[in-house]
Amino acid sequence: MSTKVFERTKGLTKKPFHYCPGCTHGIIHRLVGEVLEELGVLGKAIGVAPVGCSVFAYDYFNCDMHEAAHGRAPAVATGIKRVHPDSVVFTYQGDGDLASIGTAEIVHAAHRGEKITTIFVNNAIYGMTGGQMAPTTLIGQKATTAPLGRDEAHTGKPLKVSEMLSTIDGAKFVERVSVHNAANIRKAKKAIKKAFEVQLAGEGFGIVEVLSTCPTNWGMTPTESLKWLEENMIPYYPLGNFRTPEEVK
């Protein structure tokens, strides 16, 4: 007799992803979907989609969804959560959306201790628009608007969002994870679950920064991309928990 060892989470719709081959958005979507299903909150979950590669996230998560303008997802989520305080509200944002155009919105959602959860996908580049430099692009990393590689003297050093947000009291849960191998994917899921538990406990704002790949715009194969993430991103963006409230430790 055969045993079912894996099935599609009810947290995702049946719509096929549009993501490029080897992109890790698909894994992160699945983890969020599984967590929402396991916590039994799909019926009261309301997600906010960003502008960027995950702009169509509203088609993939199997719960109510709201598409926001570029960078504004935390403000939209604030409006929703204040109207329905018992709902589970999350934003799913990339690094252009959250770390560049949306810095004011994310900082102040954290500062207010807004009871929402943010999944922040950091792949160190603008994907949807074709590989422009992001605030998170590494020094020396090439982008279509940094053809010789990012130069610190010209555009500064990459922005460390988790470190920055963990200085804000209202940010109750801050963790950086990666999805470049199975062990880290499991850790990422645990962190995502905790971030949602922080919201359910009414503690305050929670964010999980997920280091992610962009084979298309990095100009690498999917395997090379995973290796590049491990060897280049993790040393600059160290993995780990920055803040966890006692209640969910």
Partner: protein
């Protein structure tokens, strides 16, 4: 309920709460600060939420979220702040959500000034946001009309799933007049079955969205919006008209300026000059039909604004070349003097212009 004396900005807040508005997101800017201050005091008393956002951009996006979640929600600002809100207004219009936006206009461009102005007519009626969209714009002239229109604005927004702007100037916001809160006419409002309030496992997910990547889908969506705009033009256009049948000169003015114009008209009548008035109450839809009622012997149409001439574009379209159109305006926070308006009317009536 009898009349009570209230300041404009506070009367707007009271009218909104009476209309069932429970959520307000805003950012400080003069001359509308008494409105968010009033909401911060009064909304918690009715189980609502006032939240001061980090910027006007964030405030309108909070409105976007709350409107999508099915709430009656409002924001307010003044000219430069409304400029910042245009991104969100375009999204709200595109996603077909109801909300009310109050603009207590001040002089511009740029930081401009803080005195009453009407230099945001283009901003309000053409929209600073991107795309093929419109929203209703009410321009009250008295505080009674302001509270009436604020209360009705929430119904109109819900009925057509469209943002509604109530535009006043610093004068409307700051002055005190007696007001009475009266229920607007009863409308059959559609259920908000599209709202993102959680599926509860009982329905398919609702999606609030303004993105249509397939051009055919986007075109269909935009024409659907346009059909709705046509319906609003038919049903919701409002104006006040006076003496259009035998006026020698017809003056067009809205808001505070229309009150000054009424004084000028009374003065002219004392001197035996017949003057008519068209006062748009909705700036969009613009009351074009009123202009068809102007008698063919009228010598001209005079537009008076607290700007260098913005509404005059719509007046010219509505007049259809049948009469000469003249302009008199003060701007930068200066209010037109009735004596100057009388002089302009006399010039037109006397054939000097």
């Amino acid at each position: 309920m009898g009349k009570i004396l209230m300041k404009g900005n506070e009367a707007i807040g009271a009218a909104a709460i009476k209309a069932g508005c429970k959520y307000f997101f805003g950012y400080p800017i003069t001359p509308q600060n008494e409105l968010p201050e009033y909401m911060s005091r009064e909304l918690p008393k009715v189980g609502g939420v006032f939240l001061q956002a980090e910027s006007e951009v964030a405030a309108i996006n909070m409105v976007y979220g709350a409107a999508g979640a099915g709430a009656r929600v409002m924001t307010s600002s003044s000219s430069p702040g409304i400029a910042l809100k245009q991104e969100g207004i375009s999204y709200i219009a595109g996603a077909e959500l109801p909300c009310v936006i109050v603009n207590i206009v001040r002089g511009g461009p740029g930081l401009g000034g803080i005195q009453p102005a009407q230099s945001d007519y283009y901003q309000a009626t053409r929209g600073g946001g991107n795309g093929d969209y419109r929203h209703v714009v009410y321009a009250p002239a008295t505080l009674q009309e302001t509270v009436d229109l604020v209360m009705e604005a929430f119904d109109v927004a819900d009925m057509y799933r469209i943002p509604v702007m109530v535009i006043g100037d610093g004068m409307i916001g700051q002055m005190m007049e007696p007001v009475e809160f009266k229920e607007p006419k009863k409308r059959e409002l559609p259920p908000k079955d599209w709202a993102t309030d959680g599926t509860k496992g009982e329905r398919e997910p609702n999606i609030i969205n303004s993105l249509f990547i397939d051009p055919q889908e986007l075109e269909d969506h935009v024409w659907k919006l346009e059909k709705k705009h046509e319906l609003i033009k038919q049903n919701e256009t409002r104006y006040e008209e006076y003496n259009l049948e035998d006026a020698e000169v017809v003056v067009v003015a809205y808001g505070t300026t229309s009150r000054v114009v009424k004084n000028a008209i009374a003065k002219c009548e004392e001197e035996g000059i017949k003057v008519g008035l068209i006062r748009p109450i909705t700036l969009w839809p613009f009351p074009e039909e009123a202009f068809d009622k102007i008698n063919e012997n009228a010598k001209g149409v005079l537009t008076v604004e607290m700007s260098t001439g913005q509404m005059i574009d719509d007046v010219k379209i509505a007049v259809k070349g049948k009469h000469p159109v003249y302009f008199h305006g003060r701007t930068g926070g200066m209010v037109p003097d009735p004596r100057d308006i009388v002089a302009e009317i006399k010039k037109i009536a006397g054939g000097e212009k």
